[in-house]
Structures are given as structure tokens and as C-alpha cells.
Amino acid sequence: MQDSKLPLLLIHEVGGTRGVLEAHVPFLKKHFQLITMKEFLESKEYYCAQVQAIYSWWHKPVIDRELLKSLPNLKVISSAGVGTDHLDLKLISGFGVRIANTPHAVHSTTADIGMALLLAAARRLVEGCQIAVSPDTGYFSNNWLGEEVTGATLGIIGMGSIGYKIAQRARAFEMKILYHNRNRRKEDEEQAVGACYCGAIEDLLQQSDFVMLVVNLTPRTYKLIGKKELQLMKPTASLINISRGQVVDQDMLVEALQTGVIKSAAMDVTYPEPLPRDHPLLKLKNVIITPHVGIKTHKTTFMITEDAVSNVLAALNGLPMPSEVFPD
């Protein structure tokens, strides 16, 4: 029997496709009484006044007006990861509920995935692996080439914490770094990674061999990369997306990839996820797609849960939360 003095934390489910990881349950149970959506819906009257917090993992449970109305004592929603585009922040705030994300846990690991995708795209790693194991391969051609990463130009669109960690990594590959950001970074920060500010995104697009998207999804960044932007890129360039699928105009991307407007793309995110099985992006040879694995390591997922718990406990004790998110 769980300690009934512990506050009640509502989660979607344990395990399965969208559930909180089983490995995290013992840790969560140290601090909370866990209740799944299924258990909640089966005994709504009993639980509704007791739920003080929700742990949102991979966008579940869905937070809508109905749910918020049914939880009169809900104090905080802690969302795993850094993106909060799946939450109606105004709506939630309107109910007097605080919101937190877990940005710090994800920075390094998401930067690692950005570089992994950049290198995989440049060196045609996925295609290469297919050749290496294919039953039809009789010999390796010496004329099967990729693009050099060392010394190439990387354009980082979105130089927040994750973008900056990418710059730090890219610098070790002697890459020339350009960046575009809402606000320019301080001079010493720029110098530390050798990054050159491009006030106009066009300049970055025209000069980069690799363009990396590291922005969050907002009305301003929706379809930030469309036909015009793709055409400004070099025909030898690769686009890497670790932001959100909607930052790119996907139809225009397909066209650009099919017609050689850009060379290749590698994306950890699409819209929707997964893409419909007949989507053209799935069939292009010059595309690498990963199933939104940006933060998916044992270590980082656990750190996310730890941070989420810290946020919830702070909120329940009326204290400032380490990573509170406010509506715009």
C-alpha cells in the first residue's frame, strides 16, 4: 500500500507507447501516490479533489478544459522535455495551474542528436549501412562519397542553450559557425565557439553547408523554412531538424529534395509523428528520419523525471519552481 500522505500525481499510464517509463516508477513512488488516467476515470469522484499534480510524458495525458475543470485542486502540470507547444498555456494558467518543463536535462543530449544527424547525413551513414549488409553487395565501390564535415560551414538557426551546445561540438570539428537568433549573443559567448552572427537569415542560408534548426515552435517559427529559404540554401547543403516538424514546410522540403534544390535532410521531428506510411519523405534516399529520439537515453529520461519531480514538489510547497513556464 502506498503512503496515503503523499500527494497524488496523475499520469497517463505506465509503459506502453506513451506511458511513463517503468524504470522511473520506484523513484516517483518515493514522492507521490501515482494514479493513471484509467484509474482516475474509473473512480473520478473519489480522486478528483485529491489530484494536485500531473506529470505530462510525451504529451499525455491530454490537458483540456474538461480535465482541468474536473481537478479543482490541481496546482501544477510538469511536462517532460522542453517543448510546451502541445499545452494551451493560457487555458491552463486561467485555471490557476502552474506549468513547468525540464529544459536543463535535455540540452546536451539533444545537441548530441543534432550532431549525430549532421554526421550521418554528411557521410551517408544509413545508406552506407544498407550497402554493407545488403545481400546484393558484391564489392565496395571506391567512388561512393559523402561530404566532409571538418572545416565545413554550419548555420545554426536558434542559438539558445541547445544551439549553443551544438556550436561547442561543431567547433571541435573545425567547422565555421554562423548563427541566427532572435537576439544576438554576447561577444565572449560568440568568441568562445567562433560563431558569427547573421542578422539576416538569408545570409546564413546562402553560406551554410549544413543548416541546423534548433528553435522552439511558436507562431513566429511556424514554417520558418519554406520554399524561399530552401532555394536560398546551397544545392550541396543538408538541412538538419531537431526542433519541431512544423518549423519546416514539409511539402516544400519534399520538392526541394526531389529536385536537388538541397542535397539532403536529416530530421528527428516531423509533422505528424509518425508520418503517414505513404508520405514521400519516407521514400527519398537522401533523407534520414529518426523517431523523435532527441532526449531518449536512459540517463536523460531519468534526469527529466527527476527535474519534473523537483518542479512539482516546489509548486506543492508554494516555492519558486526551477523551470516554470509562463504563457506569452
Partner: protein, 355 residues
């Protein structure tokens, strides 16, 4: 060379005043400036690259193996150099004997384990490789393989595009790179560049090398020297092999070494297939002795299509892509041209490989 009276050389366009020289000297000078150089073939899947030919022909009179075989009498004494592109043409005793004026063999890439250096040296022929042209792309590929393996990029892509995929599982996880420990076996030029890159990923670096690097080099990348290979193997989450293939490094990683590694560790090989005991590796991967492997090199290349390594889920293999970028191959070619021009002129040969 013979000299006669002091007068201007009568050969047209010759700028040499003073001494009339035998025709053979003039011919030799021309040949040294535009030396006859043996290549295997141009184009196709493994020949000299067609877009390199223009530059090569500026400096060399290219003779293909086909042309040589058809016209041995005339050509054999003219050939001064061999431009060896991916192990071809094959240099054996027969070929060396048929090229009495051969001065230099330029080999593309850094590995010379396919050459009988003693034999070649016994014919008074110099050998040059291209160590620096390959070092950046090879270090890059080592990083690419480590990241791809840890974060399961290849598997992930397969899931993302599979017709059977309906949703992405939440509990599908990879291994963390940042904060993990990388053990570099072989800290030469390539190994050091791997260390420089890995450091930026906030990795802890251990290394094992024939000779310890100087303190400044170690500190610059935060690398800790392990005089005993065992310590490196036991302490690493990722082990990368960047040694050259020699009798000392043949099967350097065998059953004992694999068993010393953590069961959660990954082996990355960018050296040569023979540095690893492949059968022991298969066993280790099948039985969870180590977690995964990522190999740019195997023995042979390609592996037979029924080889166990091709069918293990925890292995990724790339088709020897270490130096496979247009930029690197162009630079390799340029380095080889320099080595050949120096070799035929009796000058010190850049990138000479000593026996």
C-alpha cells in the same frame, strides 16, 4: 650524359645555354617533369577518378595497366612512378622486375599493410602514403559511428520509415554520449583528432598508445593515459580502435579484451578488420559480453553475405568510408602527385613510408 663544345643546345625551345647535351639528357629532363606514371584504370567503380584526370595529366604521362601490358617493351624502362589508387595496380616481384627505372610508389590512404615494404625497398623504390589527407574524415567517421550506435540512428531510421510503424514507443532508448567515457586505442593523428572531437561532447577520455603523448597534448583534450590496455577496457563506455595494422596490432582485441570491456560498452573500429578477432567479436555480441559494435572496417571487405556480423541487431557496418569524401580524395590525389614529383627528381619524398 656527355658534353661537347661550349655552344647553345641546338634542340628547339631548349633554354640551356653553354653545353651541348646528349639527347638522352633532354629526354630524361622531360620525363622527370612529366614522368611516365603507371595506374590501373580510369573511371568505373574502382579506377582513378575521372575528375582527377585533368590535374594528373598536367603532371604525369599516365599509362594504364592495359597500355603497359600491350606495350611492355617500349614502356617498361620509361615508367618512373606508380600511382596506386585503392591497392591497384598490384605491386609484386614480377611488376617490380619489369620496371627497372621505377623510383616511387604513391599509395592513396594511410594504410600500407597491403604492401610488401621490404620487397619494394629491395628494388630501391620509395613508398609514400597520404596520412594527413585521411585524418579529419576518418576521425569524423569514428565520431559518426559512435553517435549512430549510441543513439541507434540506423535502427531508428528503419522504424521511422517502416510500413509497419504505427507509433513511436516511449521506452525505446539509446545510450548517453555526453558524460560517458571514451577509450581511444591508438592516439596517433587520427586518434588525437577523435579525442578533440569527443571532448566537445563532454566525454571523459582514456587512451592507450605505444608511446605516451606529452603533457600539453594530454591536457588540451583532457586525456588520461592508460599504460595498461586492461585499465582502458575496463573503464570505457565506448572503445575506439585507431591503430594501424601491424604484427603487434593483429587481433589486438580478442576474447580476453572483449571480456574485460563493460557489458554496456560499444566497440568502434576505424582501423583495419584484422585488429579485431572477428569470431570472438561475434560471440561477444551474441552473448551480451559487450553491448554493440560499429565497424567501418572488416576482414575481408565486404564480408561474405552469410557472415554472422551482417545479421546481428547490435552491429552497424559501413563500407570502409573513413576517407570517403570528395575533399579528402582530392587532397589524397594531390599529396600523391607531390610525392611522385619529388621521388622522380631524387628530392626528399613527402609522406615517405620507411621500412
Amino acid at each position: 650524359m656527355g658534353f661537347m663544345a661550349l655552344q647553345k643546345c641546338p634542340i628547339a625551345n631548349c633554354h640551356l645555354l653553354g653545353w651541348q647535351l646528349e639527347a638522352s639528357f633532354h629526354e630524361t629532363m622531360e620525363e622527370n617533369e612529366h614522368p611516365y606514371t603507371l595506374i590501373n584504370v580510369i573511371g568505373g567503380t574502382n579506377g582513378v577518378y575521372e575528375d582527377h584526370v585533368e590535374f594528373l595529366e598536367k603532371h604525369f604521362k599516365l599509362i594504364t595497366m592495359k597500355e603497359f601490358t600491350e606495350n611492355k617493351q617500349d614502356l617498361s624502362h620509361k615508367i618512373k612512378a606508380i600511382f596506386m589508387w585503392f591497392h591497384k595496380p598490384v605491386v609484386d616481384r614480377d611488376l617490380l622486375q619489369s620496371l627497372p627505372n621505377l623510383k616511387v610508389i604513391a599509395n592513396c590512404g594511410v594504410g600500407v599493410d597491403h604492401l610488401d615494404l621490404k620487397l619494394i625497398s629491395s628494388f630501391g623504390v620509395k613508398v609514400a602514403n597520404t596520412p594527413f589527407a585521411v585524418s579529419n574524415p576518418t576521425a569524423d567517421l569514428g565520431m559518426a559511428l559512435m553517435l549512430a550506435s549510441a543513439r541507434r540512428i540506423v535502427e531508428g531510421h528503419q522504424i521511422a520509415v517502416s510500413p509497419d510503424t504505427k507509433c513511436f514507443m516511449a521506452d525505446w532508448l539509446g545510450e548517453e554520449i555526453n558524460g560517458a567515457t571514451l577509450g581511444i586505442i591508438g592516439m596517433g593523428t587520427i586518434g588525437y583528432k577523435v579525442a578533440q572531437r569527443a571532448r566537445a561532447f563532454e566525454m571523459n577520455i582514456l587512451y592507450h598508445n605505444r608511446n605516451r603523448r606529452n603533457e600539453a597534448d594530454e591536457q588540451a583534450v583532457g586525456a588520461v593515459y592508460c599504460p595498461k590496455l586492461e585499465d582502458l577496457l575496463q573503464g570505457s563506455d565506448f572503445v575506439i580502435l585507431s591503430v594501424n595494422l601491424s604484427p603487434q596490432t593483429q587481433k589486438l582485441i580478442g576474447r580476453k579484451e572483449l571480456e574485460l570491456m563493460k557489458p554496456t560498452a560499444t566497440l568502434i573500429n576505424i582501423s583495419r578488420g584484422q585488429v579485431v578477432d572477428q569470431d570472438a567479436l561475434v560471440n561477444a555480441l551474441k552473448n551480451g559480453v559487450i553491448k554493440a559494435a560499429a565497424l567501418d572496417v572488416t576482414y575481408p571487405e565486404p564480408l561474405p553475405r552469410d557472415h554472422a556480423l551482417l545479421h546481428l541487431k547490435n552491429v552497424i557496418i559501413t563500407p570502409h568510408l573513413g576517407s570517403a569524401t570528395s575533399k579528402a580524395r582530392h587532397l589524397m590525389m594531390r599529396n600523391m602527385v607531390e610525392s611522385i614529383l619529388a621521388g622522380v627528381s631524387g628530392l626528399p619524398v613527402p609522406n615517405e613510408v620507411h621500412v
